[in-house]
Amino acid sequence: MGRMIAAQTAMETRMLLRNGEQLTVTLVIPLALLAMFSLEPLVSVGGGTRIDFLAPGVIALAVMSVAFTSQAIATGFERRYGVLKRLGAEPLSRVGLIAAKTVSVVLIELVQAVLITAVAFGLGWTPHTSALAFLTVPLLVLAGTGAFSGLALLMAGTLRAEATLALANLIYIALLGLGGVVFPLSKFPAAAHPYLTLLPTGALATGLRSVLAQSAGVPVRDLIVLVVWAAVGIGLAARTFRWE
């Protein structure tokens, strides 16, 4: 089983890295936003340096782009082209296929992490690097990956591929704007603030920022929000996913 999952993971990862549109969403846009918004004072970010505010938000965006947008679109079209159906005839189990997709997403996230931190350091990023941060950041990213993957598979497994494509891009842009990625949540009306941090992107960006920029303790609330999204999304996807 391990050998099959490894083979499927390698294939999924290669296909992702070769696909220009997917690379644009998962690497080019996060890096471009990081560079643009840190070099030009497009948005007032409040206290602290611009890059210290932006880097955690862009990490959250990167996680969303691969675990949600890219995965939803790729899986939606695999379902439409009968790829998932045909794989169902192979000894690789459904659980094995989902595991391969998850490992592939995490591998891309590692590539993103290397590139984003390198660019951010180049732009003068000075994150708080405590032992707690080294524990908390991966925990937040994993919880966020679970939350976004659940939503991605929920869409890909129930909607038509074109609808998934449109909706995944729309949600990506909406959460980019509303999720505290490059626009601080404090710019929104105070009454909306608590709701925005209930969105997966808002929770992930806020949680990462509290650890990396403000060296606060473990962001329990944000972590719980992400775990609840993950549980609900994965649970619903498991119940509703249609393989063909």
Partner: protein, 308 residues
């Protein structure tokens, strides 16, 4: 265990929302043989195959594949059964060679991917993405994918659709080779010559039921035909009256005459027909004697009206 038939279907029923796709189908496919399932569009071929492949559950009836229940025992069956879907199933952007290498990793004793690619004539296209292959090449890749795991049984749903004559012959060779190495093959096709050439057994189904089954020779029967061309409007009733009982004659289309006899054309019959023609001053041209083809039998059993 090895004595169980490749596929055993008894009283299978599958109802979709608007139609009963399979309606009490019973058929058996023996081990190590090529069994063709023929039928017009909508006859229930693909639904039947997909139930055998474990993709859908039967409403009622009994299905056994290699002696196992395809729904309950799918985990045990998947390594032993190869599948070629009617269309698609391959990621559009994957290069042909990479796809076979991936599938090879799913099986303990797979065939060599490069050798198989060569065998189906795709060695040159190893680095070509699936979506850039021609229709026939895509079919050949899907066929290779079905057999790479050295299955004991393969299901091929219209394996030669969209292929040119060369590719079709190469596919026939491959299927014959599979059979030669003891693999059981279940295929559907709309090409009667293909079924006639490849099959040990043929099952003709229509409206979800078996309408005829047997070897191609059994289905075509001993019945023979004598065909000739002449001026249109011959008195076929008069001709039949001059021939032995049980003989039928018809003109279809105009100027084309077919005389059918249940037990085969005899020299006496031929002499009677030509004698009758000589008496009536008719010169029969393009006169030939042939057995019924599978296509004749198929059209006779399933009618000539067009299906969905």
């Amino acid at each position: 265990m090895s004595t169980a038939p490749a596929v055993e279907i008894a009283s299978l029923v599958k109802q979709y929302r608007h139609a009963r796709a399979v309606d009490g189908l019973t058929l058996t496919a023996a081990r190590g043989q090529v069994t063709s399932i023929l039928g017009p569009n909508g006859a229930g071929k693909t639904t039947t195959i997909e139930i055998c492949e474990g993709y859908r559950a039967a409403d009622s009836g009994r299905v056994r594949v290699l002696g196992l229940d395809p729904d309950r025992d799918s985990r045990a069956l998947r390594p032993r059964v190869g599948v070629m879907l009617q269309s698609g199933g391959v990621p559009p952007a994957i290069p042909a060679g990479e796809y076979l290498r991936l599938l090879a990793r799913f099986h303990a004793h797979s065939l060599d991917p490069a050798g198989l690619l060569d065998r189906v004539g795709l060695a040159e296209a190893a680095r070509t993405q699936y979506k850039r292959l021609s229709g026939g090449q895509q079919q050949r890749l899907a066929l290779a994918a079905a057999v790479i795991g050295r299955p004991e049984l393969v299901f091929l749903d219209e394996p030669t659709a969209g292929m040119d004559p060369q590719a079709r012959h190469a596919t026939w060779d491959l299927i014959a080779e599979l059979r030669g190495s003891g693999v059981s093959v279940i295929l559907t096709t709309h090409f009667m010559d293909e079924a006639e050439r490849l099959s040990d057994q043929v099952a003709i189904i229509d409206h979800g039921r078996l309408v005829a089954g047997g070897t191609p020779a059994e289905l075509c029967g001993g019945a023979g035909q004598l065909r000739f061309r002449a001026d249109s409007g011959l008195d076929t009733d008069g001709l039949v009256a001059a021939l032995p009982d049980g003989t039928a004659a018809k003109e279809s289309p105009a100027g084309h005459y077919v005389i059918e006899v249940p037990d085969g054309v005899t020299p006496q019959l031929l002499a009677s027909v030509t004698a009758w023609c000589a008496e009536h001053g008719v010169l029969p041209t393009s006169l030939r004697i042939e057995s019924r083809t599978l296509e004749d039998v198929f059209l006779e059993l399933t009618g000539k009206e067009l299906r969905a």
